[in-house]
């Protein structure tokens, strides 16, 4: 009834590796033989039905056409961002932003209001459920991948999404680094590898040094707002203009039509990777629109987009302090690397034919599973040493940014600064933490303001508070403060510039937790009952067999007792109890099953003889 699987044993809960993509998401797990994809690709789309139910994945993607205004896609582009950051993209999205949310975006979907981490949590929950289905066990811990160039707020938002979905996020891993892990490039003992990751919404480039199973990232660069989506938008604009002149009508306000057209455009784009020309084909009621795009035109259109990926590559090579000739291998990741022009541009830049053996849609999830294996202790020969993509600093006099931790520093990385008061009796010190490469505060990304409060009033300059900034292995900032005069930890208030406060996340977890927990229990119960039905049915049938009559009296009564106990357990809501009773009934009917089997074999053999005559 149950299929045997090679397993690391049930004692340890499995850690899943998750690629939470802009377009598609996927989960994988580490087996004895290597990483394995769990179930299918989940489109990163979430929709709220008219009855208020939230759905995620393929089902939600269908809603893009029928209910575009209550359906979110590419939410990854909104993670950890403020309203001001995303004005341009919001123009292209069919859903609405609730006014008055500056540090956290809030999306209005039907009658629900959701932040991007909550939306992502629905995708994660879907992946979690699918994984549980396949593994037959609850999944509570995960490694989630993020673009290498994600800043602190974007990483924090991803971690929040995991927590809201009921997952303990053991590690955030950078996508290109995960891909390098999946490729098993460490078979080469020493070498330099470039990973070019061009997906739906983000672009990353990382250069790694391999050394005896150590994957040391030397430098990383990228653009968190550059991907296949941008190509789609170029084609979409052409099609919209065409339609305007053909139909004499501006249809860009018709969200359902635009989504249908977007789908048609994506189809054409993807076909162009394998054919010299493709058709954008739209049928909307009685009206149709068709337009052929050939590769020449397509290449001309996307040339500037590809060029935008090459500059970060050159900077990355420079930051890694290597020359392009020293790079031994190049790896391609992400769906958009299927485009031939992308491949040839990368080949020209790195002067090497890039690896494309692994499915670019799966490689990141597979790598996340390897990292899960490293954390779980199953994989002992590999280790990732990653870097922080952006410099971290604090605001100093005159609106200047003073760098504390430089970009491309191996993480965890830390720095301490001593703070004091400037005027007599001052009781708090405000620290503004920033991320970025520019000199002026206004050109950097504000991360948070830390308020060292309740400082004992004293003469200016007497207070001595040591603040430690630590970027942990997830690339996330942790700040602690110590009063050097007392040796005690100094309390502070944290105000993140973008994203949710801890309290907000807690509230969202609470909100979703009961439900998620309930869901899993219900599913377990349902599955146990299905199994009970199956075995009860089988035993009922077996009782009609002659073999049953041939059993000893006490054997028959043991079976009957087990049947009754299972029937009783069936109506409890404890799936473990049901499973126990199933097991008992299995034991009790072992001899019977064997007898019936022998009988059947005997009959079959006789049958053969008859036929042979």
């Amino acid at each position: 009834m149950s299929t045997l699987q090679i397993d690391f044993g049930h004692a340890k809960p499995r850690i899943v590796g998750i690629d939470l993509g802009t377009t598609n998401s996927l989960a994988a797990v580490m087996d004895l033989t290597g990483p394995r994809i769990l179930s299918g690709i989940v489109p990163s789309v979430v929709s709220v039905t008219e009855s208020g139910e939230v759905i995620a994945g393929a089902e939600a993607r269908e809603m893009l056409i029928t209910h575009p205004e209550r359906t979110v896609y590419s939410v990854k582009r909104l993670m950890g961002r403020g309203v001001g950051d995303v004005q341009e993209e919001l123009k292209l999205f069919p859903f609405h932003v609730v006014e008055g949310s500056e540090s956290v975006l809030k999306l209005q979907l039907g009658d629900k209001v959701m932040t991007p981490p909550e939306v992502s949590a629905y995708v994660l929950r879907k992946l979690k459920e699918d994984a549980e289905e396949v593994l037959g066990a609850e999944v509570t811990q995960a490694v989630i991948t993020v673009p290498a160039y994600f800043n602190d707020a974007q990483r924090q938002a991803t971690k929040d999404a995991g927590r809201i979905a009921g997952l303990e996020v053991l590690r955030l891993v950078n996508e290109p680094t995960a891909a390098a892990l999946a490729y098993g490039l460490d078979k080469r003992k020493e070498g330099l590898v470039a990973v070019y990751d061009f997906g739906g919404g983000t672009f990353d480039i990382s250069i790694l040094r391999l050394h005896d199973g150590i994957f040391e990232v030397l430098a990383t660069n990228g653009d968190t707002h550059l991907g296949g989506d941008d190509i789609d938008n170029l084609l979409l604009n052409i099609a919209l203009e065409d339609i305007q002149s053909e139909w004499g009508e501006d249809v860009s306000g018709n969200a359902g039509l635009v989504q249908l057209l977007r789908r048609a455009v994506i189809q054409a784009k993807e076909a162009l990777s394998f054919a010299p020309a493709a058709m954008i084909d739209l049928e909307y009621g009685p009206r149709t629109y068709q337009r052929e795009i050939d590769v020449q035109l397509f290449n001309r259109l996307i040339e500037p987009i590809i060029e935008r990926t090459l500059r970060p590559c050159r900077n990355c090579i420079k930051d890694a302090a290597i020359t392009v000739e020293q790079i031994n291998e190049t790896v391609m990741v992400g769906g958009s690397t299927r485009i031939p022009l992308v491949r040839s541009a990368v080949e020209r830049l790195f002067r090497k034919r890039p690896h494309t053996e692994l499915n670019p849609d799966e490689v990141v999830a597979l790598g996340a599973a390897v990292q899960a294996g490293i954390l779980g202790g199953e994989v002992e020969d590999k280790l990732l040493l990653d870097v922080t993509p952006l410099s971290l600093g604090i605001e100093t006099m005159g609106g200047l940014m003073s760098k504390l931790i430089h970009r491309n520093s191996t993480i965890p990385a830390s720095e301490t600064e001593l703070f004091t008061t400037a005027v007599d009796g001052q009781t708090n010190v405000l620290i503004h933490v920033l991320q970025g490469e520019r000199e002026l505060v206004k050109d950097c990304r504000s991360l948070a303001r830390f308020d060292l409060k309740e400082i004992e009033p004293m003469i200016a300059g007497m207070a001595r508070i040591q603040v430690r900034f630590l970027i942990d292995a997830n690339g996330i900032l942790n700040v602690t403060a110590k009063d050097l005069r007392t040796g005690k930890e100094h309390s502070m208030d944290v105000k993140p510039s973008y994203g949710l406060t801890d309290d907000q996340v807690e509230a969202m977890i609470l909100e979703s937790y009961d439900k998620a927990e309930e869901d899993f229990k219900e599913r377990q119960l349902r599955e146990a009952r299905i199994e009970a039905d199956a075995i009860l049915g089988a035993v009922d049938k077996a009782k009609e067999d002659e073999a049953y009559q041939a059993l000893a009296e006490d054997e028959r009564s043991t079976i009957d007792r087990a049947i009754n106990e299972l029937r009783l357990a069936y109506h409890s809501d404890d799936h473990l109890l049901i499973r126990d009773q199933i097991e008992k009934l299995n034991q009790a009917t072992m001899a019977l099953a064997e007898a019936i089997m022998n009988e059947a074999v005997g009959k079959a053999l006789k049958g053969t003889n008859v036929n042979a005559q």
Binding site: R171, D212, P412, A473
Partner: protein, 176 residues
């Protein structure tokens, strides 16, 4: 000196880079937070502290210049910030040439290119003499030697800034 301690090294100015890397990798394997994902929070914190220190130490010590700067600071010597007087004339002429090129006078280009070559050679010289001084000091740690290292570092840093400015200007104007 804590960065040397972190890598189990005696504080020496000259280091074998392969040995340094090996020490860094070995200790990373042992202490990285990935190895402590199921440990208690105290152990986790210790692993974070150890690795962030290791990372700082490796980053600082693998580069001879940042290593020497660290060494000097730990020895109680501040790095000077003044321009090396022997370069004043050179800098004066360079600034003129830079001005000319910015003003569109292409004839200054040749002068800048030869300045670029001269500075690059000076950097090479500084690196070579640093290596020599490191070995000397490690053998016989004398304060006077540290002062020489300090002066060489200062000169090197200054030349490297000049080189950067020249290259920037040459690039900007060739791009146009």
């Amino acid at each position: 000196m804590k960065f040397y301690d972190a890598l189990g090294l005696e504080p020496k100015l000259a280091l074998d880079l392969d040995d340094l890397k090996k020490r860094f990798y070995d200790r990373s394997r042992q202490w990285h937070p990935d190895r402590f994902s199921r440990a208690n929070s105290e152990e986790k914190q210790r692993s974070e502290e150890m690795t962030s220190m290791l990372n700082d130490a490796f980053r600082t010590l693998r580069d001879p210049v940042s290593r020497a700067e660290y060494f000097l600071r730990e020895s109680g010597l501040e790095l000077p910030k003044d321009a090396p007087p022997e370069l004043l004339e050179e800098v004066f002429e360079l600034n003129m040439a830079l001005e000319e090129l910015r003003g569109g006078d292409e004839s200054a280009r040749g002068q800048l290119v030869s300045a670029q070559e001269r500075f690059a050679a000076m950097m090479g010289d500084a690196d070579a003499s640093l290596a020599g001084l490191f070995a000397h000091y490690d053998e016989k740690p004398e304060r006077a030697m540290l002062d020489q290292i300090r002066a060489t570092l200062n000169r090197r840093k200054y030349v490297s800034n000049l080189l950067r400015d020249v290259e920037k200007e040459l690039n900007v104007h060739s791009a146009n």
